[in-house]
């Protein structure tokens, strides 16, 4: 078998291409997918590269099928993934819900695009609600919102590992800009870096006689008694909540003495980082807080940042119309800090957008 990353070195890639290489490096066996902008090059690069490394690809008839085939492949013990966006993410909510119910270790890349509806292919951050809490269920998912191509590489590898370690559906949440833009990152072989690749194993068709050699493997997503569903969802919730502290990831700086904390996620946090540095240089005490995991949300950490700073205001900036704000509010219910918002659905946010907003509210 050819080695995927022959030597650790800096390379110049687009975000979509980064996902394909990282999935190869993570040992992914197969991608199932259906074309949709802006994730297309994940498939393009995967299909160009996969045959060289003995990996597989299947283009399914639609996204519902792509999601369910991933659910099937992981039950057969294959490290499988998909990538989609917008209406594809809508269609995949059914299989994603199945993965929540059956604790299937699926990994999906979401390159957010604009909405509502089907045909808008451009950048946006409007799939936050869908990716964290979509579907008919309780949002038992793990969602990483990346900001750089290095993070895309790192969290794709991590995403497969987390999915297989904890057995919850795991997502990498990017966007149209991250998909298309290009920047340097370090490509590496995870095992050479001491990152253990979680072993995969079949969930069905196990050896041994049920009742004698082993317990039955009860992978179920259909419950016909209300009380049974109550037991199952309550158990799933407890299992999910137990691992939350191990999963939470966030970044913060300059919050200690901040008068205003700027809260962003994903690519917008790059603008927030620049804005905080520029504001500080002008003597304005701004702080930076960014959840990396949107699900589970670093609620306690954000509460602590607010408490230690004594900040009077929290500015939430997002390329959507309040999805991230609503997610945040439910997580920090009871905080009395005044929330200001900068909603720019479909539009990129740059440092001076945030700087101007901060100056207008302070």
């Amino acid at each position: 078998m050819l080695k995927v990353v022959e030597e650790t070195k800096k390379a110049f890639l687009t975000g979509n291409e980064t996902i394909a290489w990282a999935a190869l490096a993570a040992g992914a066996d197969i991608m199932f997918g259906y074309p949709i902008t802006p994730q297309n090059e994940v498939m393009h690069y995967w299909t160009r590269l996969a045959p060289k490394y003995g990996r597989d690809f299947l283009q399914t008839e639609d996204e519902i099928s792509a999601g369910f085939t991933v659910c099937g492949a992981v039950q057969a013990g294959k490290k499988a993934f998909t990538a989609t966006a917008g209406p594809g993410n809508v269609l995949m909510q059914e299989p994603f819900g199945m993965a929540e119910a059956m604790r299937l270790p699926i990994f999906a890349v979401i390159q957010q695009r604009g909405g509502p509806s089907s045909g808008t292919v451009v950048y946006s951050q409007q799939e936050v609600a869908l990716t964290t809490y979509g579907g008919n269920g309780e949002g038992f998912r793990i969602v990483y919102s990346t900001a750089t191509h290095q993070e895309i590489y790192d969290y794709t590898i991590k995403g497969f590992n987390v999915a297989w370690k904890y057995r919850w559906p795991t997502f990498l949440l990017g966007d149209g800009y991250q998909a298309k833009m290009r920047e340097p990152l370090e490509m590496y072989d995870p095992e050479e870096r001491g990152i253990k690749l979680e072993p995969t194993y079949p969930l069905v068709g196990l050896p041994g006689k049920i009742g004698e050699d082993r317990e039955p493997q009860h992978l179920c997503n259909i419950y016909s008694l209300e009380e049974e569903l109550y037991d199952v969802v309550t158990r799933l919730a407890a299992e999910y909540e137990k691992i939350v502290p191990e999963l939470i990831e966030w970044q913060e700086h300059s919050c200690e003495d901040a008068d205003i904390i700027i809260l962003t996620h994903g690519i917008v946090s790059r603008a927030a980082d620049d804005a905080v540095k520029a504001l500080r240089a002008q003597g304005i005490k701004a702080g930076y807080f960014r959840p990396i995991t949107l699900r589970p949300y670093p609620a306690q950490q954000l509460r602590e940042a607010i408490a230690k700073s004594g900040a009077k205001k929290l500015l939430i900036a997002e390329s959507s119309y309040g999805q991230f704000e609503r997610l945040t509010k439910q997580e920090i219910y009871g905080e009395t800090i005044k929330i200001e918002t900068l909603y720019m659905p479909g539009v990129g946010i740059v440092d001076y957008d945030i700087i101007n907003k901060v100056k207008s509210v302070l």
């Binding site: 800096k10 390379a11 110049f12 890639l13 902008t37 808008t120 451009v122 340097p184």
Partner: protein
């Protein structure tokens, strides 16, 4: 303008000849940047230049954000502008119709052939491209791109492209480019070109290195590149 190791600079073509070049290459290899720099270079020599956006997949994501700026520099740009595409939705993902007739314009014509894998085959959308004696198909290679990150991969990739008349050595790492990175990539690309019998037209180097570059390192001229594409935002 090409500057050689003896410090002399000269035009790459006699002023009288029409320049017709199509920049092809791997996705994100630097095709648009090379095409823009080449078009502006020719314009600065007082020539009439048309720059054609021939990205068949994502015309929204290529030269569009820079179109107005490039027109202000005196270029004729065939491509969609924001008002052209506003309100079109996915149906707006199309070529500017004038691209088909670009070769029948007067003056120099530079094509930015988007989206990589189909190489020069996309030129079949342009009238006269096949019969044109003036057209040169130039493949842009960045050694820092993983798909063209080794000698074997570069050769394999160029073979997949179909017609290639020349290469441009465009190794860089964005803001993290160093002279060593450019030199290593250039050395490998020139080795590939020699092996394949394809000329290297020039080495593209960010102009910020202009005082530091050793012109005797390679027997290929350098073009100093201004990076315009980062201003495209996405």
């Amino acid at each position: 303008m090409v500057c050689r190791s003896n410090g002399r600079c000269q035009d790459t073509q006699p002023v009288s000849a029409r320049v017709v070049e199509a920049y092809i290459g791997e996705y994100a290899s630097g095709k648009s940047e090379m095409a823009i720099n080449r078009a502006l270079e020719l314009k600065s020599q007082g020539r009439q230049v048309t720059l054609v956006d021939l990205d068949t997949v994502e015309p929204f994501y290529t030269l569009r954000p820079l179109k107005e700026f490039l027109e202000q520099q005196g270029l004729t740009v065939i491509g969609l502008s924001k008002p052209d595409s506003f309100g079109l939705g996915e149906t707006g993902a199309m070529l500017a119709p004038a691209a088909r007739w670009a070769l029948r314009r007067e003056g120099d014509v530079i094509f930015d052939v988007g989206y990589g894998v189909y190489g020069a085959r996309t030129l079949n959308l342009v009238e006269d491209a096949e019969s044109s004696a003036e057209l040169r198909v130039i493949a842009v290679i960045n050694y820092s791109r993983p798909m063209t990150g080794s000698k074997a991969r570069i050769i394999e990739y160029i073979k997949e492209l179909g017609r290639v008349d020349a290469l441009v050595a465009n190794t860089h790492l964005g803001d993290e480019t160093t002279l060593e990175i450019i030199e290593e990539g250039t050395r490998i690309i020139i080795e590939c070109a020699e092996e394949m019998g394809i000329p290297v037209d020039y080495i593209a180097v960010d102009k910020k290195f202009s005082g530091k570059w050793n012109p005797d390192l390679f027997p290929v001229p350098v073009k100093w590149i201004t990076r315009y594409m980062p201003a495209a935002m996405w």
